[in-house]
């Protein structure tokens, strides 16, 4: 049953340098599994949009190869693009189009014969059926986003790209969007979304990739990232500095700050024993005088900020 499936998208050594000389992608290697939800997390300008635009054919890769469903995106663009639907970040819709017309147009554009019943079905799935004859510019932002999704789904793609699907969207709509993504996944669609909301990645993704400054810093199952998320820190401030850690603390996962005033102990909240009592006893036995105690939970946000930060310092 669990035979490893070939990745539905495979990216090798992808770089992109724009004409102005700015290198936005600096060697991306990425395999996307069939049927997964992958969240690409990263600050603005990290290269997320360039990455998905390249896969969709809007941007030419400078070097590297991308295959979708085993086909090369440049040589076999007709095959690869049929497999892919793209929902752009901006609410880009023609001004005077009627909802149903613009979705039918998308279907035709991707080479499928007209099927009004199928288009109505897609509109229905997105709760747009009652808006089918509305002019798109008169719809609210959330509705426009759904029209864009309907357009992207009109040719029944196997892969859906959502570029910042919930940017500037209120909480309720965001939850609706998440439910929709889940529904799509159940229908077998592979979903890649970019976001800078960590909460969003946590909520819906199977895997999370962190992109910063054109590099993929980390990509892992969400659960693995969550495990490192479960880490907590106990910070012990000392009254007087010490040169090195006392031997009684050797068995603990502790670090001493450079100035010698602070000991940081990292522990797993999910474990049965946190080890705080033993640690504090050991501190006491070593004759250290405490000034302050502090515990903090490292969030995915911290991990993310740290990753991005340390990357920028490189």
């Amino acid at each position: 049953m669990n035979l490893p499936q070939p990745p539905i998208i495979s990216i090798r050594n992808l770089t992109k340098t724009y004409a102005a000389g700015e290198q936005v992608l600096k060697g991306i290697d990425l395999d996307i599994k069939q049927g997964e939800i992958l969240a690409l997390l990263g600050p603005n300008g990290a290269g997320k949009t360039t990455l998905i635009s390249t896969i969709c054919g809007l941007v030419r890769p400078t070097t590297g190869t991308i295959t979708v469903g085993g086909h090369d995106i440049v040589k076999d663009y007709r095959q690869t693009r049929k497999l892919v639907g793209l929902v752009p970040q901006e609410l880009t819709l023609g001004a005077f189009d009627v909802v149903v017309d613009t979705v039918r147009f998308s279907r035709g554009l991707f080479g499928l014969p007209p099927d009004h019943a199928r288009v109505d079905e897609i509109l229905n799935d997105l709760s747009l059926l009652d808006k089918k004859d509305s002019i798109v510019t008169r719809l609210s932002g959330g509705m426009k986003r759904r029209v864009l999704i309907a357009k992207a789904l009109a040719h029944e793609p196997k892969i859906l790209f959502l570029d910042e699907p919930t940017a500037g969207v209120d909480v309720e709509l965001r939850k609706e969007m998440w439910a929709l993504v889940e529904k799509l996944r159940l229908s077998g669609v592979t979903i890649i979304l970019t976001t800078h909301y960590i909460e969003e990645a946590e909520e819906i993704a199977d895997r999370v990739g962190v992109i910063s400054d054109g590099r993929l810093l980390v990509i892992d199952e969400k659960q693995n990232l969550m495990n490192s998320l479960g880490k907590k820190q106990l910070v012990v401030d000392l009254r007087s500095p010490i040169e090195q850690l006392p031997e009684s603390l050797a068995g603990f996962d502790v670090e001493l700050s450079e100035d010698g005033y602070r000991i940081t102990y990292t522990f797993d909240t999910q474990g049965d024993r946190t080890g705080i009592t033993t640690l504090l006893q050991a501190v006491n036995n070593a004759g250290l005088v405490l000034k302050d105690l502090n515990t903090s939970q490292s969030s995915l946000e911290d991990i993310f900020v740290n990753l991005v930060h340390s990357d920028n310092e490189r």
């Binding site: 809007l58 941007v59 095959q79 793209l86 752009p88 017309d101 998308s106 279907r107 035709g108 554009l109």
Partner: protein, 253 residues
Amino acid sequence: MNVEAIKAIYFNEMRRTRKTLLQSIASPVISTVLYFVVFGSAIGSRIQSVDDVSYGLFIVPGLIMLSLLTQSISNASFGIFFLKFTGSIYEIMSAPVSFFEVVIGFVGAAATKSFIIGTIILATAGFFVELRIAHPFWMLFFLVTTCISFSLLGFIIGLWADNFEKLQLIPLLVITPLVFLGGSFYSVSMLPEFWQKVTLFNPVLYLISGFRWSFFEVSDVSVTVSLVMISVFLLTCLATVYFMFKTGYKLKQ
């Protein structure tokens, strides 16, 4: 060949045309009527016939060309420019379509609209003068080729323009003068000799001359030259569009 995509683009553009049908047809008809009132009746009654053709009748082919050229360019340029302007061009760029299919869709729709307008102007002219068309087939040929060539040119302008000013620039600064100086309202033989020579560099002259020949069998330059020139123009536009798509000009980085 993605025939569904061509159909989708073509009918989508035609739908846009239908929505603005009244203004797209009313304005050329009104301006044609005005030209007839001013040039045909008011001034034309004082002008002798040109090459044995009454002045009112003589200007009919030129008037049609004037509208055809400006309409073809504005229709085709606006269609593609608007997609760039709203950003919705992303969809076409990410679709499994070739440059050729996109051009057929857009240019086909723009040319169709121009053709309809040309026919309407011809019919309108029929209310003012007694039309006679010596070579209906060639008349149609010139009409269709002009619609296609200038829709292509419009498409190129629409791709090139990155703001509304540029979109208007070429039609206003280049096309309108070329049409007016290309013999729409006069025979080139009426010009001083020097300007007759200068006019030969105006590509529009060959269009109007050939088109007028198909009506009255009078022309400023030989019909063969007209045919060659329009073919050259058509091919140049095709080559330019092809080059633009190949290089992703202004579309793809």
